[in-house]
């Protein structure tokens, strides 16, 4: 019964949230990103589904506004993919709120997500969820607390397992080019 009650709470807020999402267009317009009313509705519906799926309840303001604010200047989001990416990002957000056992605050999680999305993920939400966030929350569950000081900034470097920059190879190629 209580679970239904939490779902009802989300449904009651729906109209206000759609209006709030539309009002975000004023800010995102400068990046060429606009949400139609239909897309805003779909986003709210998908948000409610995510909340239900991950057994969470959202009080007060929706996280969608914040996700939009964090990601609107992304080089990997275009008008064509805007709504779809937002849906994926909010789903990932709730999943990893649970996976981090609520140890991460909204801002810490979003900061980490944005940095990786723009960096190593190059806009790939699957890589963000299944690799970057997975490694990060695994460390948090094991007792890592460094993110509290950094607020989620430059955290992935500590857990990245792939060599991203091979200095020796770079020098070798540079030498060859210069001495040719």
């Amino acid at each position: 019964m209580e679970d239904n009650m939490f779902e009802l709470l989300q449904l009651k807020k729906q109209e206000k949230e759609i209006a709030a999402l539309i009002s975000c267009n004023e800010e995102t317009e400068q990046f060429g990103l606009i949400l139609s009313e239909e897309e805003a509705k779909e986003l709210v519906i998908s948000r409610n589904e995510s909340l239900k799926k991950y057994q969470r309840v959202e009080f007060g303001e929706s996280i969608l506004d914040k996700i939009i604010y964090y990601f609107c200047d992304s080089q990997y989001i275009t008008q064509d993919t805007y709504a779809e990416v937002l849906m994926e990002l909010q789903d990932i957000f709730y999943l990893y709120k649970n996976e981090s056992e609520d140890l991460l605050t909204d801002d810490e999680l979003l900061t980490f997500m944005k940095e990786q999305f723009e960096g190593v993920c190059t806009g790939d939400t699957d890589y963000l969820a299944d690799t970057c966030l997975e490694r990060f929350v695994q460390a948090i569950r094991a007792g890592y607390t460094g993110y509290m000081e950094t607020g989620g900034h430059k955290e992935y470097e500590k857990f990245d397992e792939e060599p991203r920059w091979d200095k020796d190879l770079y020098l070798q190629v540079l030498t060859e080019l210069c001495w040719r």
Binding site: E2, D3, M5, F6, L9, L51, Y54, Q55, R56, V57, E58, F59, G60, E61, S62, I63, K66, Y94, K97, N98, D102, T105, D106, D107
Partner: protein, 299 residues
């Protein structure tokens, strides 16, 4: 004082903001349930206080609050929360009063629960987010159960029970109590998990029937005949009546100023009756009382 579940959601919402220090817009269902339970616990605390007041008001002829005073759910919650905090302070005062003259008879279970455990409750109890969680398992049992009580209500009731039991136990010479416990279980210090006053009272009743000083808590094999003849072939109900009479007599003469004590310990009479009647039926009364001239397992 009626309210809907919808009235409680804004309170849960505020509580959830406090719980996450305003740093998370959502919480898990588990956390939301925990917070809802916390709200309901405080509301119940207010309601139970109000119903107690109503009885007093009816008796004293005046009302503390105006009849027309209408409280919304949030006000009820806040007053209930204040009541919970006040209860914790009261329980702390009660504990300090008990611990002043507390004697654990070197029983580890009793020591760990009352001397080690209860202070942890006062350190860790969370009246804001988990007022229903009294943290401790309260392994040392009291004669009266705590029923479905939880949170500070359970601790408060437990401490009241302990206070009553120790008002009785403190009149005995600790050495006599320890000797009795040692007869029950030689390594009673580590292994005695039952209620101490229960064993002391049963032996005390035996002493009255055998015409021996109750304070010594010593019974011999030849006393069993007198005890057996007092009950004869009485049914459990009859035996219970007789035991009630003995308990009343014991407490009225020993603690005339404390009627609560008699009422509290009368609850043991049914259990004693069953044990004694079975002991007589099976010719094993010596096994019911812990005798000084007999060892467990020998007859």
């Amino acid at each position: 004082m009626e309210y809907n579940v919808e009235d409680l959601l804004p309170i849960v919402e505020k509580l959830s903001r406090e719980y996450t220090s305003n740093e998370s817009s959502s919480v898990s269902y588990e956390t939301a349930r925990m917070l809802m339970r916390a709200v309901l616990y405080c509301i119940d605390a207010y309601k139970s206080e109000k119903s107690c007041e109503s009885v007093e008001e009816r008796e004293s002829g005046y009302e503390l609050f105006s009849v027309n005073e209408k409280l919304n759910a949030e006000m009820i919650y806040r007053r209930g929360y204040d009541r919970v905090v006040a209860k914790v302070i009261q329980a702390k005062e009660l504990y300090n009063a008990i611990i002043d003259q507390f004697q654990d008879f070197h029983c580890r279970n009793c020591h760990d629960t009352i001397i080690e455990g209860i202070p942890q409750f006062f350190l860790r109890y969370d009246p804001r987010f988990k007022p229903y969680d009294h943290i401790l398992t309260l392994d040392y049992p009291t004669i009266k159960s705590l029923d479905t009580l939880c949170g500070v209500d359970a601790i408060d009731r437990y401490l009241r029970n302990i206070k009553t039991e120790w008002s009785f136990l403190n009149v005995f010479d600790p050495k006599c109590v320890e000797a009795l416990l040692e007869r029950i279980i030689p390594d009673y210090k580590n292994l005695f998990l039952d209620n101490i006053s229960n064993a002391v009272l049963l032996t005390g009743i035996g002493c009255i029937l055998a015409g021996k000083p109750v304070g010594m808590l010593e019974l011999q094999k030849n006393d069993m005949e007198l005890i057996g003849s007092f009950f004869g072939d009485a049914s459990e109900e009859k035996a219970e009546e007789k035991i009630r009479m003995l308990i009343s007599k014991l407490f009225r003469s020993g603690f005339p100023e404390n009627a609560e004590l008699e009422e509290y310990f009368l609850t043991t009479s049914k259990e004693y009756a069953v044990r004694i009647v079975n002991g007589i039926k099976n010719n094993a009364l010596a096994g019911v009382f812990d005798l000084t001239d007999i060892t467990i397992g020998m007859s």
